[in-house]
């Protein structure tokens, strides 16, 4: 099995090399003479896909058959016995460093196969060279898979297995990973990572064949949105997992590996918007090319951070010097290649950039790009700082940057659709923004009321001796974020309403069917507006759930009837359920009735699970979800006196983050789905 796996990975590698050579050679011979070779290059791309598909199938089969002959299966096999155990068996494939790299390479071969399938009937020079670049990237990954620490098909040491085939060591999937969100988090993230290699490959292809037309952008535009969407979903799932599994009450800790996944997402926002300008105005050409490279390099930086051990993180896998140099070379090489190409092809890639005024649509796209790039570079530098002997930065530093940049960004995002190309006419702009401003004032007033009655008292509770000056900054940030979030929501809603009304009047349709038409016909545009709407909701949720968390610890007797109170909620202890599962995992669950104003509002069942095979304990948190707040209940354990140590957090507005996240995903999916009906 191990040999077969390595064999097919090796065949994939050979196919990748054949494809690159055939495509490059075919181009040399010219379109006529080189046709057979070029076609070979396309077929070899399918060969890579076939080889890697067999490899990943072997690994998957090994997990389902619990084949302990593979060391990777021993280390990451699931021990779960719940109804989701099949999912965790599957998740073993990407649960560790070796399998996840193979999985990534496989996804990359799927993207390459899709590109080959789409462009095989055309076999234009641009596509041929881009496919060669894509297979070149693939080759790097496949070589990395043969570095021993990255190889998923290593044989298990004989001493780990007993005579009856039973496992002699305690090993298995990290129990923290045995959660539905965590099984889906890596694959969605990796779809995003792998997909973002495609725009980079086509940018390089465009440079190689010296074609600065919008052709390459039109080919990769939707694949890029698709990849960016999945990257976003992956980040969101990771946040959900961190929230419900890690038990510290938050969802984003600015941990190096979290940051690494955020970086390509940020530059991806910039990249997508520069594609719009490239396509529609013929501008931002060099910029778009550099953004594909920067985004791709940030994708690699993620795996570089986790694999090289340059930065200490909860996520970091074992250090490996070979991977360090290999991925570093890949990152530096990609940036240099793009930079060199842009310089050499400078003349033909000169864009028709027209900045006639600071308030034009072009400018808002420009600042969008600048802010995203600056944010990504700053986060990258702060994250990598300890690797260069610098300081390690905590959340305070990240927040100090993220909050003002985020507020400015959402503001630009909110007004951008109301601006005109080249020059925005003041009177026209005012007529558009008038009603959204009224709505913004109403929303902001409501949120300010919430802030004064609910959020500010929480801030006073956790910071009784808060410096008035810092509180003023805190207040200012919270209220401005509420205002720009409201503005983003109002503008997006207004765009939908006026769009539908205009269409209804022009076509004689009812308002609702007109609304349906603009959402499902002008999908790029309405999907974009919906994404903006979601971002507005998210920023409001972020203010509540990151700036105003009430965190209370309580110790109570382990006798039924004992109670404690947090933020108006009374928790009445009912009893303990304990259970040992067939796999020897031990589950402890506490039962609480949760009362508010003397009325029962729900039950909370926080607990702990002791995993036998892995020799680890995991907190099992209980969350009560309300529209305006989550009540997050953690059982931290018993103390010497057998009292129960409880931790309760009230997280205001956190549901808004998840809801806005959902809206953003639906919006992006709508924008990506169809072939473009008209230039949006």
């Amino acid at each position: 099995m191990a040999n077969l796996g390595n064999l097919f990975m090796g065949l994939g590698l050979v196919a990748a090399v054949v494809s690159i050579m055939a495509l490059v050679w075919g181009r040399k011979l010219g379109p006529k003479e080189g046709e057979a070779l070029t076609n070979t290059g396309y077929l070899a791309t399918y060969g890579v896909l076939a080889g890697l598909t067999v490899s990943i199938a072997i690994l998957t089969a090994a997990f389902f058959g619990e084949n302990f002959a593979l060391e990777y299966v021993v280390q990451h096999h699931s021990t779960d016995v719940s109804s989701l155990s099949w999912l965790y068996k599957l998740a073993g494939v990407w649960a560790g460093r070796e399998g996840s790299l193979l999985f990534w390479a496989w996804l990359l071969s799927l993207f390459a196969g899709y590109v080959a399938y789409k462009r095989m009937s055309v076999t234009d020079e641009l596509s041929n060279m881009s496919l060669a670049v894509l297979n070149f990237v693939q080759m790097f990954f496949l070589v990395a898979l043969f570095i021993p620490l990255n190889n998923p098909f290593k044989i298990t040491p004989a001493a780990w297995i007993g005579p009856g085939g039973e496992l002699l060591i305690r090993a298995g999937m990290n129990p923290l990973l045995q959660h539905w969100a965590m099984t889906l988090h890596p694959p969605t993230l990796f779809i995003g990572y792998a997909g973002l290699a495609v725009p980079f490959a086509f940018a390089m292809g465009a440079l190689i064949v010296n074609d600065s037309s919008k052709l390459w952008v039109e080919i990769v535009d939707r694949i890029t949105v698709f990849a960016w969407l999945f990257l976003g979903i992956g980040i969101g799932l990771g946040a959900i997992w961190a929230y419900v599994v890690l038990g510290w009450g938050g969802y984003w800790a600015w941990d190096p590996v979290e940051n690494a996944s955020l970086l390509p997402w940020l530059t991806g926002v910039g990249l997508l918007h520069s594609f719009t300008v490239y396509r529609r105005r013929g501008g931002f050409k060099k910029w778009a090319i550099m953004m594909t490279a920067v985004t791709f390099v940030f994708v690699l930086l993620g795996t570089f951070i986790t694999r090289s051990g340059v930065v200490q993180s909860v996520h970091a896998f074992q250090q490996d010097e070979l991977s360090f140099w290999w991925f570093l070379a890949m990152m530096v090489g990609s940036l240099l290649a793009a930079g060199y190409g842009v310089v050499v092809r400078g003349e033909s890639f000169k864009g028709a950039d027209e900045f006639d005024s600071l308030t034009s649509k072009e400018s808002s796209y420009y600042f969008n790009n600048v802010l995203m790039l600056v944010a990504a570079v700053v986060v990258a530098l702060l994250t990598l700082s300890p690797a260069f002997g610098g300081k390690t930065y905590g959340p305070d530093t990240y927040h100090a940057i993220a909050r003002p940049v985020g507020i400015l960004y959402v503001f630009i995002m909110a007004v951008c659709p109301l601006l005109s190309w080249r020059n925005t006419d003041g009177v026209q702009f005012w007529s558009k923004i008038k009603w959204p401003l009224v709505a913004t004032a109403v929303f902001t007033a409501a949120l300010a009321y919430l802030w004064w009655t609910v959020l500010w008292p929480i801030h006073l509770f956790s910071n009784p001796s808060a410096n008035p000056l810092t509180s003023v900054a805190h207040t200012y940030e919270a209220l401005t974020a509420f205002a720009v979030g409201s503005l983003a929501i109002s503008v997006a809603l207004w765009l939908f309403i006026t769009g539908a009304r205009k269409r209804a009047a022009a076509k004689g349709e009812s308002f609702l069917s007109a609304l349906g038409s603009i959402i499902f016909k002008a999908r790029t545009q309405s999907g974009g507006y919906l994404t903006h709407l979601g971002m507005g909701i998210i920023i409001i949720g972020l203010v509540g759930s990151s700036m105003f968390v009430k965190d209370v610890k309580a110790t109570i007797d382990a006798t039924p009837g004992s109670e404690f109170e947090v933020g108006g909620y009374t928790f009445v202890f009912k009893g303990i359920d304990e259970q040992t599962l067939p796999n020897n995992d031990h589950v402890t669950k506490l039962n609480f009735d949760v009362m508010r104003g003397g009325k029962l509002t729900g039950t909370a069942t926080p607990g702990q699970i002791q995993y036998y095979r892995q020799d680890q304990t995991r907190l099992d948190v209980s969350v009560i979800v309300e529209p305006l707040r989550d009540i997050f209940v953690v059982f931290e354990g018993s103390n010497q006196a057998d009292e129960l140590q409880m931790n309760v957090k009230i997280n205001p507005l956190i549901s808004w983050v998840w809801f806005g996240f959902g809206v953003t995903i639906i919006g992006t999916a709508i924008a990506m789905w169809p072939r473009r009906q008209r230039a949006a």
Binding site: F355, V374, T397, D615
Partner: protein, 227 residues
């Protein structure tokens, strides 16, 4: 391109960049922490009040997970003696915390030299340890009853075919001599044996010899000669 618009564009870009740099500079100075080793901060009066990030190994038995706040000692990674510092930790205890775990603790050293922290992440212990200074089996057994119940480090080779599943009294046996021959020692250990341990590998054990002659191991590492 309109010249005035260009100047304004560059101007606004510069303002954004300068503000971001200023914020990082201003806030980062107060927030960030330099990485220090345990020996850097132990008995170093100059460092009191500074925000530091210390990486060290949790000294076995120095902690009680159920006390609040939790107190424990750490020493430099890969050392078995040498300087230690005490830590008072106010945050939630990570799931993977335990003896010999590598803890990365961010906090402030108070005037008593104690590291006060609310921020800790843990990594699994390095699976390699130096055998220097560890007793051989012959040394250990040669000391007779005097050594029973005392915390010691001992090194030996895993006897061929001796590794059993956890749960029993004897997890594996070590010998003095490359897998077979020489004096032997049965080892009790309920934790996870390190990846890569197999017949004939040299291991370094921390723990104590009980009255029945079984070595009750708290930690099992591979000898660094196995790397």
């Amino acid at each position: 391109m309109n010249k005035r618009a260009r100047v304004r564009l560059i101007g606004v870009t510069a303002i954004i960049l300068i503000s971001v740099v200023a914020i990082v500079w201003g806030v980062g100075a107060g927030d960030g922490s330099y990485s220090r080793s345990v020996s850097d901060v132990a008995d170093n009066a100059e460092i009191a009040g500074e925000r530091v990030r210390v990486t060290g190994t949790v000294v076995p038995g120095s902690w009680d997970k159920k006390s609040s706040p939790m107190r424990f000692d750490i020493r430099d990674e890969g050392e078995t003696g040498g300087p230690q510092i005490s830590v008072v930790y106010y945050g939630g205890v990570p799931n993977t915390f335990g003896d010999e775990v590598t803890a990365i603790i961010t906090g402030t050293i108070n005037e008593k030299g104690v590291l006060e922290s609310e921020d800790m992440i843990t990594k699994c212990p390095s699976k390699y340890e130096s055998a220097t200074g560890a007793l051989t089996i012959a040394d250990l057994l040669g000391q007779g009853d005097a050594v029973v119940g005392k915390s010691v480090r001992v090194t030996g080779y895993v006897a061929n075919g001796s590794v059993r599943p956890p749960g029993g009294t004897v997890r594996f046996t070590i010998t003095g001599n490359g897998g077979s021959g020489g004096p032997t020692l049965d080892v009790f250990f309920d934790g996870a044996v390190p990846e890569g341990m197999g017949d004939g590998t040299q291991v370094v054990l921390g723990g104590l010899l009980d009255e029945s002659g079984v070595f009750d191991a708290v930690s099992v590492s591979l000898s660094d000669t196995e790397q």
